[in-house]
């Protein structure tokens, strides 16, 4: 996943004839700390932006390339490669920037809302019951510091794919990846991991 991302980092794509490295040079220096600070406030869109959407913004605005579709192309690999440059650094997002606090509030509301036919909130499993076994699955704390992660049953996983998978398992309708609802949830869940080390790429069951 990470080496795949490194290949994408150096790959020229789009009308401008640029790669990520053309502007950002050595990721080990320029991307250090980025993975610990995202999602962050994006003044242009007046919304939080995560690494995946920042990559797409660079591709469309700087490289003249097509944005990656959700989980396609180099999206997971590049996100993992960029976040990996912060390995071991403590997670800490800035809630004072722009309207981040409002998005945090929205995400918290979602986290504690029960969804679906099975009537479950994120908190039911990942706060109240973390550590327990639901059949063969060990209920995690639902942290994002190791994402994108390698899941033993289905390979490389993005944060939004896992959000959608969890919501599907409550038998609720799934919000779209990078929708306002899931961006708010990413902000809130990243905040819950404040102080945890970035572990990307981690391995999960």
């Amino acid at each position: 996943m990470v080496t795949d991302g490194e290949t994408w980092w150096n790959k020229v794509d789009g009308k401008e004839g640029k790669s990520c490295a053309s502007c950002h040079n050595d990721a080990a220096t320029t991307m250090k700390g980025v993975g610990a600070r995202y999602p962050k406030w994006d003044e242009a869109s007046k919304k939080p932006i995560n690494i995946e959407l920042q990559i797409n913004k660079c591709r469309t605005e700087q490289m003249g390339a097509e944005p990656f579709e959700f989980d396609k192309g180099g999206q997971i690999g590049l996100t993992a490669y960029i976040k990996h440059q912060s390995l071991g650094m403590p997670m800490g997002i800035d809630l004072k920037a722009g309207e981040m606090q409002k998005w945090w509030d929205m995400g918290k509301e979602t986290y504690y809302t029960r969804f679906g036919q099975l009537n479950l909130s994120c908190a039911n499993c990942h706060e109240d019951l973390m550590g327990k076994m639901i059949r063969a699955d060990h209920l995690s704390q639902g942290q994002t510091n190791g994402f994108p992660t390698y899941r033993l049953k289905d390979g490389n996983n993005s944060i939004h794919n896992r959000f959608r998978g969890c919501i599907r398992d409550t038998r609720a309708a799934q919000p779209k990846a990078f929708s306002d609802e899931l961006m708010a949830l990413e902000v809130y869940v990243a905040w819950r991991g404040t102080g945890l080390s970035v572990e990307t790429p981690s391995v999960r069951q």
Partner: protein
């Protein structure tokens, strides 16, 4: 001679052929009083063997996901989110088990994680194919109540 069995078999086949004639209480009409649903919610008695199937089926009750059950030793990775159900028949009477299955929140309170299996009092944004539907059928609830009744220590 097997006349007795044949006749029983025919009767069972006729029952299976007439599901429309079977009465069941709609999810919204099940009354939970004093933490109990006193009467069965179908007029066909619960079948413990069918109940065992629905108990373990991941697309049925999937009870094993959260509750361990020593009576099913071949089914590995039993969950521990809820209490083990070994000997539950000696602790809980059928009317209480039925109420917990129908809508656990009416028994344990709104904070419980356990889903309601025969209620339309569910979470937000239910996926399209599950709108207006319960997790289990009334008959499956009765079958599982009957199966739980066999779990004696």
């Amino acid at each position: 001679m097997n006349w007795g069995k044949t006749v029983t078999g025919l009767s069972a086949a006729m029952l299976v052929c007439m599901p429309a004639a079977m009465a069941e209480v709609a999810p919204g009409d099940v009354k939970i009083e004093d933490l109990k649903v006193a009467a069965a919610i179908t007029d066909q008695a619960g079948n413990p063997e069918e109940g065992a199937k629905a108990f373990k089926d991941t697309k049925g009750g999937n009870c094993l996901a959260c509750h361990a059950n020593k009576a099913m030793p071949k089914d590995l990775f039993q969950g521990n989110v809820g209490p083990a159900l070994d000997g539950v028949a000696g602790r809980y009477e059928p009317a209480l088990l039925r109420a917990i299955l129908v809508n656990s929140k009416a028994v344990f309170g709104p904070q419980t994680v356990m889903p309601g299996f025969y209620t339309l009092d569910v979470g937000k944004n239910v996926r399209e194919e599950s709108v207006g539907k319960t997790v289990l059928t009334a008959q499956q609830v009765e079958d599982i109540v009957a199966y739980l009744g066999t779990l004696k220590e």
